[in-house]
């Protein structure tokens, strides 16, 4: 609040108190955190429970082959990092709500730490998406230079589910990126006011 002394043309002094309006607190990040939580949760569950068993006949022998996430290291990395991101989103949602309701001084440092952790998790999610995408691409198309045959013509439903989970996880990781950008923009506007 600042006090000005205005003088009218008549010479009448009046004290005017100007109340500065507080800047609007943007709280879109709670919605973003919930969105990230739900997307990574769905991706984890989709990959975690999905399996497909096919009977393959090869040279007059029949044997069953199963496609599960445990059988491919890149998929293990994908499931683990989506699970970590999901639980982190839940924990940071709770911590952010608690810190916001307690006050602004303490919540500044909490927000900074949460932003830093958001950044690390975003990088982890992006790398897990890259690994799953690369392995899925080899499974889809094969690689004749390395003699790695494609398997998605056999396990077609499993490959479709993997693609859907990958797309969800990519959207979820860009939600984490938006969270970081949102926190930084909020810091920037507060440092300029």
């Amino acid at each position: 609040m600042t006090t000005h002394t205005k003088t009218n043309l008549d010479g009448v002094h009046s004290d005017v108190k100007v109340v500065e309006k507080p800047t609007k607190e943007r709280s879109h990040d709670l919605f973003l955190r919930f969105l990230g939580l739900s997307l990574t949760l769905v991706a984890t569950i989709l990959v975690g429970v999905d399996n497909q068993t096919k009977v393959i006949s090869y040279a007059e022998m029949k044997f069953r082959a199963t496609a599960k996430w445990e059988y491919m290291s890149a998929m293990v990395f994908f499931v683990v990092s989506n699970a970590i991101a999901c639980s982190y989103a839940a924990a940071s949602l709770v911590i952010t709500v608690m810190a916001r309701s307690s006050g602004t001084r303490k919540s500044d440092f909490t927000d900074l730490v949460i932003t830093a952790l958001d950044l690390v998790l975003m990088a982890l999610l992006f790398s897990a998406n890259g690994a799953a995408c690369a392995v899925g691409l080899i499974a889809q198309k094969g690689n004749k230079h390395l003699q790695w045959m494609k398997v998605c013509d056999v396990f077609d439903t499993y490959c479709r589910h993997m693609t859907a989970a990958l797309v969800l996880s990519i959207i979820g990781s860009s939600v984490f990126l938006l969270l970081v950008l949102h926190s930084v923009l909020k810091l920037h506007y507060r440092s300029r006011s």
Partner: protein, 189 residues
């Protein structure tokens, strides 16, 4: 009439109470050093993986190049982009040390672009690392044989390149942490 002699009020000539933003923490020297490290890491990664071609005769000559896997091609492309970005921002950071007026504006842009570049370099590291791991250990469930027992020099080059790219992504995380902390310290209490 006495009021006519009164000076017109200071409404127009009032000195604006400029809220001087606190100078905050200045970590631009570390910023320049880390950006140069990022440039060095991306340059080393690209050079090491591009020179890792190897040909084994089994008995037909069968080469192993980074171009034979789309994952490694993406890795080289992404790290080249990161290298170019790190050159530009190292120069921008050096320029900001000379003109301190730019620092506040530059911090925001650095964080935004650094976050995008972190996404790029992290995904490139994960992509190449995932495919390299399959090449190292093989996967008997899908009948993909390991190749690292045959092509040892190629595997060493790819492994070193991915490790240096992982170091580069850690450097990018540190860069964003430094910029966020500088921005946080400029917030007026």
């Amino acid at each position: 009439m006495a009021s006519a002699d009164k000076p017109v009020d200071t409404e127009y000539s009032r000195p604006t109470s400029s809220a001087q933003a606190p100078a905050g923490v200045d970590l631009f020297k570390f910023d320049v050093i880390l950006r140069f490290l990022l440039f060095a890491a991306s340059l080393v990664s690209v050079v090491v993986i591009v020179t890792g071609n190897e040909t084994k005769y089994l008995p037909r000559p069968r080469p192993a190049k980074f171009r034979y896997s789309p994952a490694f091609v993406y890795f080289v492309a992404a790290l080249s982009v990161v290298g170019l970005y790190s050159i530009i921002t190292t120069l921008a950071s050096l320029f900001a040390i000379k003109n301190p007026a730019l620092k506040a504006k530059l911090l925001l842009y650095f964080i935004l672009w650094d976050a995008l570049i972190l996404g790029i370099i992290a995904s490139a590291t994960g992509t190449a690392g995932g495919v390299a791991y399959v090449g190292l250990k093989g996967n008997k469930h899908v009948d993909w044989e390991k190749i690292c027992n045959v092509y040892d020099k190629f595997c060493r080059h790819v492994g070193a390149s991915v490790a240096v790219a992982l170091f580069g992504s850690i450097v990018t995380v540190l860069l964003i942490w430094i910029s966020a902390y500088s921005l946080h310290s400029r917030v007026p209490k």
